[in-house]
Amino acid sequence: MRDKTVLELLQARGVSRRGFLKFCATTASLLALPPSAAAAIAETLGKTRRPSVIWLSFQECTGCTESLTRAHLPTIESLIFDAISLDYHHTLQAASGSAAEAAREEAMKAAWGQYVLVVDGSIPLGEQGYYSAIAGVSNLEMLKETAAGAAAIINMGTCAAYGGIPQANPNPTGAVPVSAIIKDKPIVNVPGCPPIPVVMTSVVAHYLTFGAVPELDHLGRPKSFYGDTIHDRCYRRPFYDQGKFATSFDDEGARNGWCLYQLGCKGPTTYNACATVKWNDGTSFPIQSGHGCIGCSEPNFWDKGSFYQPLSAGIWGDRQATLGTAAVAGAAVGAVAAASTRIRQQHASEEK
C-alpha cells in the first residue's frame, strides 16, 4: 500500500479523472495556492508515494486530536488525509502496549529519513523528563529518537509549538516546545488551542503534495493560514474603525454586534484563520458568537493577563499603546492601528 502513488490510491477508491481534477483544484484552494497550482498538484500526486506519518502525543489534553477527528470532513479533505499512512497515533490506533510501540519502531525503520513526525503536546524537562512517559520512555527521549529519522516535524497545537498551557506560569513540569529540543529538522508550527481542523489537514496535505513545508512566518506558522490577524479579517472590523464598542456582554453595543475590543478581544494581535475559515463546518467563530478572541495561537497566551481586559490595559502584544489610544479615539486612530498591524506583518516578513 505504501508503494502506491497518491493518484493510484485515489483511482483505487474509484475516483475518476474528473474527480481527480476536482481534487487538485480544491486542494489548491484549501492550501491558498493560486489556481494554476492545481496542474502542478496533479502532476506531483501522480508520482508521490504515500507518505508515512508518526503522530506523538506528549503533555497535552487530546484536544488537538479531538478537533481533528470530530471535524466535519468533506469527501475531498478526507481523501487528502486518507492518502497518508498514519502508522502510529496512540489515541487512534487499535494496537496498545508493546504492540503499539513496536508499530512505531517498525514505521520508523521502514521509512527512516522520510516520514513526517506530527507532535501534539509540550515536553516536560523536569525530573529528567519523567513527568510524562509512554511505555517507560520519557517524552523527551521518544521525541529525540523519533525526530532523528523524520523528514520534517509538524507541531499541532500551541503546546507543541510554543509550550502552551503546560508551560504557563509556574510551569511545574518544566515544559518546553519541540523547537527547544530539536534544532536540525524543518519544523512547521500549527498553533491553536486547538488548531482549526482544516488547517491541520491542509498543512499535512501541503507536505504530501509538495514534499516540502509551506512558506512560514517568523513564528514558524504557515503564512497561508496565519498571514493575517483575526482583527484584519473580522466582520466586526467596520465597528472598530467607527469607534463603536461593546463595553459589557449585555449592553447596546453587544446587542448590535459591535467590536469586542474593550471586552478583551485579542484579535488585533492574534494571527489565525478563525475569522475566514471559521469552526464547526464554517458555522461561526468566537467573535461571531459574541466572545472576544483569547489569542490561543500566540506564544504565552495564557500568561498575558486577563482575557477580559482590553489589550490597552494588559501586557498583551507589543502594540498596546497604539491600540489603547485607538479604542478611545475611535475611527480615526483605528486606521492607524490597522496600518500598524500591517507594518508589523511586513516586519515579520522581512525578519524572516
Partner: protein, 142 residues
C-alpha cells in the same frame, strides 16, 4: 439570573460593508486574463475563496458577467456546477462536497473548462466498452 432575557446578537455586521472594490478588481483581472486567452491562447483562473469576497462583490460580478448559453453539472465526488457567463470565455465553476458544501469557487478563463472535456484514457476505455457491447450484441443475434 431569573430576570435574564435572551439577547439577540447579530451575526453579521449591520449596514453595508462599504464597497465592492474586490469585485471591481476581479473584473479588471478578468479583462487581463481574457486578453491573454484571446491573444496568446493562455487560460487562467481566479479562486474566489482566496479573496475577501462579500455579497456586494458577488452581486457586482453576477450583474457584470451575466448568464451564458451553457450550464452543466458534473457528478464526481460531489457535484460541480459549471456555468458559462454572458462573457464568452469566462466560466463560473463551483465544486461542492458530497454534503453540498462549496469547496472551491473559481472563475475560469478558458474555451472549455477541463472538467467538461472527456479524458483521452476514458475515451479509450469507452471504445473498448462499446466494442464489447457490439460483440455481445452480434452474438446475441440482434
Amino acid at each position: 439570573m431569573s430576570d435574564s432575557k435572551p439577547i439577540d446578537i447579530p451575526v453579521l455586521a449591520l449596514g453595508p460593508r462599504g464597497d465592492d472594490m474586490t469585485g471591481r478588481a476581479i473584473l479588471r483581472q478578468l479583462e487581463e486574463l481574457l486578453a491573454a486567452l484571446v491573444e496568446r491562447d493562455e487560460p487562467g483562473s481566479i479562486d474566489l475563496r482566496s479573496l475577501p469576497f462579500g455579497p456586494e462583490d458577488r452581486q457586482l460580478l453576477e450583474e457584470a458577467l451575466g448568464e451564458g448559453e451553457v450550464e452543466a453539472e458534473v457528478e464526481s465526488m460531489g457535484p460541480s456546477r459549471v456555468r458559462e457567463t454572458g462573457i464568452p470565455g469566462i466560466w463560473w465553476v463551483t465544486h461542492y462536497g458530497s454534503d453540498q458544501q462549496p469547496l472551491a469557487e473559481l472563475l475560469e478563463v478558458t474555451y472549455c473548462p477541463e472538467i467538461l472535456i472527456t479524458p483521452s484514457d476514458a475515451a479509450k476505455e469507452g471504445l473498448s466498452a462499446l466494442r464489447a457491447r457490439l460483440f455481445e450484441s452480434d452474438h446475441m443475434g440482434r
